[in-house]
Amino acid sequence: MSATNARLKSRLGIALIAVALAVLPFVVGAGFGNSWVRIIDFALLYIMLALGLNIVVGFAGLLDLGYIAFYAVGAYLYALLSSPHLAQAFPALFAAAPGWPVWLVLPLGAGLAGLCGVLLGTPTLKLRGDYLAIVTLGFGEIIRIFLNNLNAPANITNGPQGINNIAAVHIGGHALNRPLELFGIVLPGVHLHYYFFLALTLLVIFVCVRLQDSRLGRAWVAIREDEVAARACGINTRNVKLLAFGLGATFGGVAGGLFASFQGFVSPESFGLLESIMVLCMVVLGGMGHIPGVILGAVLLALLPEALRWGAVPMQQSLFGKVLIDPESLRLLLFGVALVLVMRWRPEGLWPSALRRRELSTHAADGA
């Protein structure tokens, strides 16, 4: 009786969440304007990124400060394959933009990013903690600098100007950046992107949950906790680490491809160290290794700065009669303060997993 009740309740909960997610862009669009739907679209991309990084940092315990490089790889691959840039730069080789379908380009970007993840992982197998962080940081910068400078001798990435005129995702012959009329309702491009990104985000969440409960997930926990003991248990620590790097990077590659298609433009600027740190903050702030926590962290850090930017100017004007602090610098200031406060009062993150809570409380007991 109570079991069926609980099942009914959880089904009802899922149905409510599904309805809420389905009407979200309409509610937000009507209430705040479509620019906010666009911000939510970006938040979905950040969720994918944070979940990907969570595999490396949260599950396997490998601190990666260059994760945004995989995002860049996915984004640039999509950009090159879906814009006229290659045709303009190498007219002899390409008559027109390759224009491959999205279900081919996205997996290709994911695969290439995953390969880069394994390539980064290979030389760092014996490194942990700060040493690993430094190497990954270097890797992230190398990719960005490559993108910045690969406009000569052959113009592959178009250097600091970036690549524009990237085609939007086409599904069933319809470009997602054009409004679509469906049963008398007009869906603007941002709404279409929302549904597309949401579907892929749900897929990423599903994969993450399955990975966490898998044999591989348990092996990640083991190497995070104690690598020697993991090896003594018969875990192939090398392959397990490479899989963490590779799978994490794959998600970054998917998100990157979506980013390029959504923006229509990519440049090396979007893939700086600060972005890597931002994604890492989402993971740490939300709750390392805990999927709902990481999602929460990503949503908060993607939305709160925009909310601040939106609220800061009118608030300052009503308080002081003029704008004293430029909202952009205020955003970083408040972001820093919030991080310090959270790390002081909730070091395990806003919504930690049971295991992580246990770890940090044991640490506190050790320290006392």
Binding site: R218, V228, A229, A232, C233, G234, I235, L355
Partner: protein
């Protein structure tokens, strides 16, 4: 069961193990004793492929000197690392389950967990507790129990008495004795020579990276040189 010939381990330019030979027959209990820095732990780690080493190591007649460490677990060799090396933040039960990582026979694993609990009743009481909160002796039991979960034919134990109270040492050694009675072959590294030799059939004495003596335990316990150097007489 295990045959080691000409095993050498180097740390940089320093030779820790300078070419030793040893063998362990199936069902035998063999001790490797010696002072600090004699190379006992290095030898054990090299056999388990946790350290790069030169020389030949054969497990049941097959060369394992180039096998991957994780593959050895599947071939029936389990190491209980020095200083216990439990997953401190996982529960006792999770530690045991991790020990069965190389196996996929779910039903049999559950039965083996019960078997380990029967052997180590203390662990059953603490099944849901995190391993890091247990006493040193209990952690040693977790480490042994976890190694048993891979169903080893030969168990390598690295200083199981380290840092334990005398009463706990006796308890842990009773457990090891029990494990051996169930037919698991033992290679035991110990500083506590008397204890190790009282449990084992045969012993090797290591000094400065070489084996200096090899004899049945009773003979070693009677040997005046061993008595003077390792038994404190």
């Amino acid at each position: 069961m295990l045959e080691v010939a000409g095993l050498q381990v180097h740390y940089g330019g320093i030779a820790a193990v300078k070419g030793i030979d040893l063998h362990v027959a199936a069902g035998e209990k063999v001790a490797l004793i010696g002072a600090n820095g004699a190379g006992k732990t290095s030898t054990l780690k090299a056999i388990a492929r946790m350290l790069p080493a030169r020389g030949s190591v054969k497990l049941q007649g097959e060369d394992i000197a180039h096998a991957a460490p994780h593959a050895l677990v599947r071939r029936g060799l389990a190491l209980v690392p020095e200083g216990r090396g439990v997953f401190a933040r996982l529960s006792v039960l999770e530690n045991l389950e991790m020990g069965a990582y190389s196996r996929t026979d779910r039903a049999q694993i559950l039965a083996d967990i019960e078997r380990v609990f029967a052997l180590l009743p203390r662990l059953k009481e603490r099944a849901t507790q995190t391993a890091g909160t247990l006493s040193g002796g209990e952690q040693q039991m977790v480490a042994i129990g976890r190694a048993l979960m891979s169903r080893p034919r030969i168990l390598l134990l690295d200083e199981p008495s380290m840092g334990l109270s005398p009463i706990m040492v006796d308890t842990v050694f009773d457990v090891i004795r029990e494990v051996a009675r169930e037919g698991v072959t033992l290679l035991l590294v110990e500083q506590n020579a008397r204890l190790a030799l009282s449990l084992c059939d045969r012993g090797y004495v290591m000094d400065s990276g070489r084996v200096t003596l090899e004899a049945p335990s009773a003979a070693l316990l009677d040997n005046p040189a061993v008595r003077a150097a390792y038994l404190g007489e």
